[in-house]
């Protein structure tokens, strides 16, 4: 199996149909396929072991993804927002790679690694001018994505061609989109949702309108100018779009028929507001992970409207659910010993199915029966609706970006006046979750000001780690085993 099949089928069915609109240029499936075939030749000739993208979204992402598949080389898009030190580490791990995008940064950070680098324009131009490969490559791994590295070095999650083909063929009907449909994609190319978007739209033959990066005004303008009919958003993006509309932004959104969202917790107020604001739009909440080839559960449009209208608290509560498993996926909630739990009881979410890889370069996380422990905490109600309740390991998920409390706490503890510290997730309307920190001050010291604490984090870590709230406590709550009771710390922020 090979994911390049999707582009080949779309081009076979209608080579002249427009599949991608990006930066003013319109790409037909035939043109995209020829460019991907040319890219495959370039990739194969480079002798590299990985294909990478270090760039914002563009046609180069589509061409590199399918080109890598045709060449039989794993595609490893990297997060261009990473700090130099972290990025250098990842570049070293994929060497020698065929890298498209920020050539200057690769040369500065990884000169010794033997990478082959191309700027975006250079790559796309060469791919279009190069003849295609005769022999399709044979390789199991289609895509490798580095996890956000919450406690240790980032893990290299791998998705095999068979995982992604199972996911797409099992959940998307080939060629089911009509020619007037257009899907606006604004998620980053290094995120599983960005990759799944390119695959599912190609297979459905649904035209993609690709934004280089998300901005609410650009998004609104693209909906109007391209007659966009559907979009995928992370909750933070939806919040920003609504904020612009509330501020009186000029918007023509009558073409919009559906919005899918996922990637992080959706605040209840926000989805209620969106359902009121767009009464004719179908909303779908999708839950999935990198290791599961994207979506494993969906809360569909009808379920959104039913919950939104209902006066029954049980039905209303479903707006906070991520829906029910796909027909091709099994989901179980298990306790700490791995025993299945009945409906209503909170435990860890386990997933099984052909699309679930659960595999890292270093090891597979699947159990003997093929179940993947997601590390997400949650429960299922009697009707089989899945509710998530944070990360099993207390990762903070801010606007779709996972961050480890540990890295924030380590920096806080470098402050001479801070004796103990805990970073926890605090609910946020804008971000889903944001950072709250509780600190304990050393005896005889003055507590640092909020500004001082924020500056300390800002100077040492990425700005997303800066706490929104700082609490000063006499002591942090620990259990008898000396384990920090994070839930109690989180409760302190609820007041």
């Amino acid at each position: 199996m090979n994911i390049s099949l999707f582009l080949q089928m779309a081009a076979d069915a209608d080579a002249n149909r427009i599949g991608l609109v990006c930066d003013g240029r319109r790409w037909s499936y035939g043109t995209l396929l020829r460019a991907a075939q040319g890219a495959a030749t370039l990739i194969r000739e480079s002798g590299c072991t990985h294909v990478s993208l270090l760039d914002e979204s563009s046609e180069a992402a589509t061409i590199a993804l399918f080109g890598a598949a045709l060449a039989g080389i794993p595609y490893v898009p990297l997060n261009y927002r990473l700090a130099d030190e972290d990025l250098a580490g990842l570049l070293h791990r994929i060497a020698p790679a065929f890298i498209v995008g920020d050539t200057g940064r690769v040369e500065r950070l990884a000169r010794e690694d033997g990478h082959t680098v191309h700027s975006r324009t250079d790559f796309v131009g060469k791919a279009e001018r190069t003849a295609g490969l005769i022999e399709e490559g044979e390789e199991d791994v289609a895509v490798q994505l580095f996890t956000s590295g919450t406690t240790a070095a980032p893990k290299a999650a791998i998705l095999r061609h068979s995982n992604l083909v199972s996911y797409i063929v099992g959940s998307v009907e080939f060629g089911s989109a009509t020619e007037d449909e257009a899907r606006l994609v604004s998620v980053p190319p290094y995120h599983i949702a960005g990759i799944a978007s390119l695959l599912s739209t190609t297979y459905a033959m649904r035209k993609v309108v690709l934004l280089s990066a998300f901005d609410p005004d650009t998004w609104l303008a693209a909906v109007a100018s391209e007659g966009v009919t559907s979009a995928f958003l992370v909750p933070t993006m939806l919040g920003r779009i609504i904020a612009r509309l509330d501020a009186g932004a000029n918007a023509e959104l009558s073409s919009l028929r559906s919005i899918a969202y996922g990637g992080g917790p959706m605040p209840r107020e926000l989805i209620d507001r969106a359902l009121d604001l767009f009464p004719n739009v179908d909303f779908a909440n999708s839950y999935g992970l990198t290791e599961t080839s994207s979506t494993v559960a969906i809360l569909g449009p009808e379920e959104h409207r039913e919950a939104h209208r209902s006066s029954d608290p049980k039905v209303r509560a479903r707006l906070a659910s991520v829906g029910r498993p796909l027909p091709t996926v099994e989901i179980e909630i298990r306790d700490e010993e791995g025993r299945p739990l009945p409906a209503g009881e909170r435990g860890e979410v386990y997933v099984r199915g052909d699309q679930v890889s659960g595999e890292y370069r270093e090891r597979s996380a699947l159990d003997a029966q093929g179940w993947f422990p997601t590390r997400d905490a949650g429960y299922m109600d009697e009707e089989g609706y899945l509710f998530l309740a944070g990360r099993a390991d207390d990762v903070i998920c801010r606007g779709g970006e996972n961050m480890s409390p540990g890295e924030i706490e380590d920096v806080l503890l470098t402050h001479p006046a801070i004796a103990d510290a805990a970073a926890v997730a605090v609910p946020s309307l804008e971000w889903g979750e944001t950072v709250g920190v509780a600190i304990v001050v050393r005896a005889g010291q003055q507590p640092p000001s909020d500004e001082e604490v924020k500056k300390l984090i800002k100077d040492r870590l990425r700005s997303s780690r800066v706490p929104e709230r700082v609490l000063v406590l006499d002591a942090l709550p620990y259990n008898e085993m000396g384990k920090l009771l994070r839930r109690e710390v989180r409760n302190l922020f609820k007041g």
């Binding site: 068979s162 959940s171 899918a260």
Partner: protein, 96 residues
């Protein structure tokens, strides 16, 4: 037939990819399919000329075999002379 194997019709243009396989021999247009296209096409059996459709999945009654049509043709798919059926899948909302 291993998942991922591509089978080609020996009497028309049909090509399928095996999603789920067994040891059964798949026929198209009344003739066994093969991994390599023959130099010259055989004759289409009019009893198996219903046609295949691009992108549709075909299954046997027991659900042991599932094939994805990646190139359509004039023949229809069968195992031991029993026609395969198009897999009926409930459409899902597009989620990413």
């Amino acid at each position: 037939m291993k998942p991922g194997t591509k089978l080609k019709s020996t009497v028309d243009d049909t090509e399928v990819m095996v999603i789920r396989g067994s040891d059964a021999v798949v026929e198209c247009g009344g003739a066994p399919m093969a991994e390599e296209k023959p130099g010259q096409l055989g004759t289409l059996n009019p009893d198996f000329a219903g046609g295949t459709m691009m992108g549709k999945r075909y299954v046997d009654a027991a659900g042991t075999v599932e094939l994805l049509c990646v190139k359509p043709g004039k023949g229809s798919l069968a195992i031991n002379g029993t026609a395969l059926q198009i897999k009926d899948a409930k459409p899902l909302p597009s989620s990413d």
